[in-house]
Symmetry: C2
Subunit: 511 residues, 2 copies
């Protein structure tokens, strides 16, 4: 626990149960909050470094428990009623902070578990001992030794370590926002509930299975998800949805074993051309998916939504240069427009060998690994069925495991389809009152509209299920920098983003 | 040298320069030859085992020289004028045997080098110490110890070792055929020249470069190539041609590095679908190649050729069962008909990962490795140009190495084409007098027409160049069994094939 924190709690106990508002939302509040953050940087960074020091990979149950207990302690220290909620797998941490005359109840979602680490690949002694660098590693960032004693940090300085960004920063930001508002004498306008997931990196299975049991405890009017990065522009961002995804693998068949392409070429069928022709039937040169009714239900955007997409400051020219591409896959679509549609992505291909290992054979099989991104209007089960129907319509017999001798003898066109995991998309309408309130709160505090992302490209399966189970809308309120290297061996948090993220949360807590 | 051989040479020296014909072509000759072979099996097998015992991989120059010297000695022992011909790489062995009143000069081609070996993979102590098994290993073949002392061998017995089939058996068969004819008192009707290649398994480069120098020495009216297996039916076989081949690798481009398929799917182009659509444009569901003018020059078969193809006893039903296929790639074509046409084979595909390693990315590249089999009417250079023209006609820019940043920024559709090695097809018309003479000679001896293969599927690059440089037709007169496992760690020779092969050569030597 931080010393300043102890002091604050003592002061809190001495004060009345309601906070006195001395700063008003808008520039005045922002300046008061910035003063608080500016004079507490050592404590804020220190609290995150301490939290990161508890290893949090899912295969380490002892430290998983330590994380949960420690976070429960943090919540209590910040005035929450807090408890550890057990699940079939990793525990959750739950906290609740009631305020008088609350307009609503907000539920914040974050997670304490981290992606697995391979310590040998990290450029620091220990992924759980955070290192501060004066800028990005790729830009020649240098270690700042003894950084814990510093009182001020440059906003471009970056903390490196597992979960500094994904997602422990969110926990510290939320608690600091509450500290800062209290110090500024500004009352929270909502009751605050918080649920800290213990296995987001492995599908949140524990949380999802425990949801029916804890549903009432988690009830809220609006969910705020703290697990995304902000827009690359660095501007405060709200995200109203995320695509779903489903993976599948298609395998076509040639001979039972690779046969000599000279002795049998033209006579023994080649699985590669069958796969190529099947895939080619599924997507056109213009990037449009050709599977029947693939886009069914996707409606034209509301004018306000179109304006919102156009306002996202994506630097298309720079992205194209970064990726080395001359044109988007679907010519004429901006990135944001492209993200509103489901995709058909060939993520991998294999058949025998290419390169120096290539042999003059007709291969036995050819395989394509696909991932299909979904939007709210294209649910997983229906989309999977459309793909299967399309394959059958090309004259293939669809099987789920390698064909038997009898089937091989009978059917000249066989495709094995192995369905992988998947999750549905979610989207909260940006036109809802709650959505407008969040956007307005950020606009008031920062003096400009936040970047509004109607649908983010990546999946967020737990969001979809939370919305379904708790029955309230969800909006993502990200904090960390876009280039945080999440899941990699260079995970990092730009401190300027952390400080700004605290402001964003404070704005929402006072809306 | 074999004792019987010594004896034979002594007898030969005592005899006159011309041989006296005591047996006539046809059943009488066959029976005389079979008597000779039947009573010399130990010597024939022994001579092959001794020859195989000299290691013959191309990376072993000392043993390569030993092979050449040893074979020169064998040729001399059998009455040839013989010499080692140096090349830039491995030496050749040349032999010549003149006969009075020769109708023509025949040039036999064989090779003494073998495919590389990995001794650990062999089911015998040493790939160069031949082992005799009572049947195929796959059928439970058991070692016959002390087999060198046997006088008689079952025709189904198989000798296992490197080059027992490919191609040292041919050398022994040729020399034994001459022995057998001499013993039967039947005169050779042709002068015999023989050239034994020292690096057939690595493109015969030494021979091909040395050809201009030795052209006159190798001059002949007809070349007989001893380096193929006979038809799977086991019947005596003549082969009039072989397909050529050219390999190439096509690579399409997505982003410079794999990018998240959620964040950028629909916007960053996918290289896999570009490759699939390109490949699909090249070959139809009916197996017909769609590249413009791909089949140009391929004329309908002469009626006699059609009859010849139909007479090949291919067991289509059995092959389809073996390969587990329900229909040929080009429905309605027999295997022999399919072999008369050029092919387009996708021998390998790769792009990022499939299976458990698959990741949700848009891959950077997708690659197809192709091999295209050629026939005499579709030469290598022209065919390659047609493929390139087709790719360009699909709107792709063709490059030979990975595109520069500038090209990526300019061109949305790029294909890298890396051309591999290749060789032209050859074919001697089955309607030529020389072709008819060979077929008639075999028919006379065996009492039935041999299997006539108009075009064999595999390549035989050296044949094409020999025909071109020496200017005479070439016919392949195979000896060894089809399932000889050439190049593999189970290379084997069925002894019945060796004994019959001696008869085939004898037939041609007396035509």
């Amino acid at each position: 626990m931080r010393d300043s924190l102890r002091l604050w709690i003592v002061c809190g106990l001495l004060g009345a149960s309601g906070w006195v508002s001395t700063a008003q939302p808008g520039p005045g509040l922002r300046s008061a909050l910035e003063d608080y953050i500016g004079s507490h940087q050592r404590e804020i960074v220190g609290e995150l470094v301490d939290l990161v020091s508890i290893p949090n990979v899912v295969s380490d149950p002892e430290n998983t428990q330590r994380n949960a207990s420690y976070i429960r302690g943090m919540l209590r220290d910040h005035g929450f009623r807090a408890e550890v909620l057990e699940t079939e797998i990793n525990p959750l941490v739950y906290g609740e902070l009631k305020v008088p005359n609350a307009k609503r109840t907000l539920l914040f979602y974050a997670h304490y578990d981290g992606h697995p680490v391979d310590p040998r690949r990290w450029k620091q002694a220990n992924p759980f001992t955070a290192v501060l660098r004066d800028r990005r590693l790729e830009d020649g960032g240098k270690d700042i030794s003894g950084f814990k004693q510093l009182k001020k940090f440059h906003p471009d300085a970056r903390l490196y370590g597992r979960s500094v960004a994904d997602n422990k920063a969110a926990i510290v930001a939320l608690l600091t926002a509450i500290d800062a508002l209290k110090a500024a004498g500004v009352a929270l306008t909502s009751n605050v509930r918080v649920i800290i997931d213990g296995e987001q990196e492995s599908s949140s299975l524990g949380l999802l299975r425990a949801l029916p049991r804890y549903r009432d405890q988690l009830k809220a009017d609006l969910m705020l998800l703290l697990d995304d990065p902000v827009h690359p522009s660095g501007r405060p961002t709200v995200i109203f949805g995320a695509r779903g995804a489903v993976s599948m693998e298609l395998t076509t068949y040639g001979p039972k074993f690779g046969v000599h392409s000279g002795h049998f070429g033209n006579w023994v069928p080649n699985p590669g051309i069958r796969l190529a022709r099947l895939l080619a039937s599924m997507k056109g040169d213009d990037g449009r998916v050709l599977i029947n009714r693939f886009y069914d239900g996707v409606e034209p955007l509301h004018e306000e939504e179109r304006t919102m997409l156009d306002a996202v400051p994506d630097d298309h020219a720079n992205l194209m240069k970064l990726f080395g591409i001359a044109a988007p896959e679907r010519p004429g679509l901006t990135l944001q427009q492209a993200l509103q549609l489901p995709t058909f992505n060939i993520r991998g291909l294999s058949s025998a060998y290419t390169g120096p290992d290539a042999r003059t054979i007709i291969p036995d099989i050819a395989t394509a690994s696909l991932d299909i991104r979904l939007v709210k209007e294209t649910p997983l089960a229906e989309t999977t069925e459309k793909v299967l129907a399309h394959i059958r319509a090309q004259g293939f017999e669809v099987v789920e495991s390698d064909p038997s001798e009898a089937m091989r003898a009978r059917s000249p066109r066989i495709v094995k389809v192995v369905k992988g995991g998947g999750s549905n998309a979610y989207r909260t309408s940006p036109l809802l009152p709650e959505s407008r309130q969040v956007v307005a709160a950020l606009e008031r505090l920062f003096g400009e509209r936040p970047v509004q992302i109607r649908t983010s490209g990546a999946t967020f399966p737990v969001a979809t299920v939370l919305i379904q189970e708790i029955g309230s809308p969800a909006i993502s309120l990200p904090i960390v920098n876009f280039d945080n290297g999440q899941h990699s061996d260079s995970e990092n948090l730009r401190l300027g983003h952390l400080f700004t993220g605290i402001l964003s949360i404070a704005a929402v807590l006072t809306m």
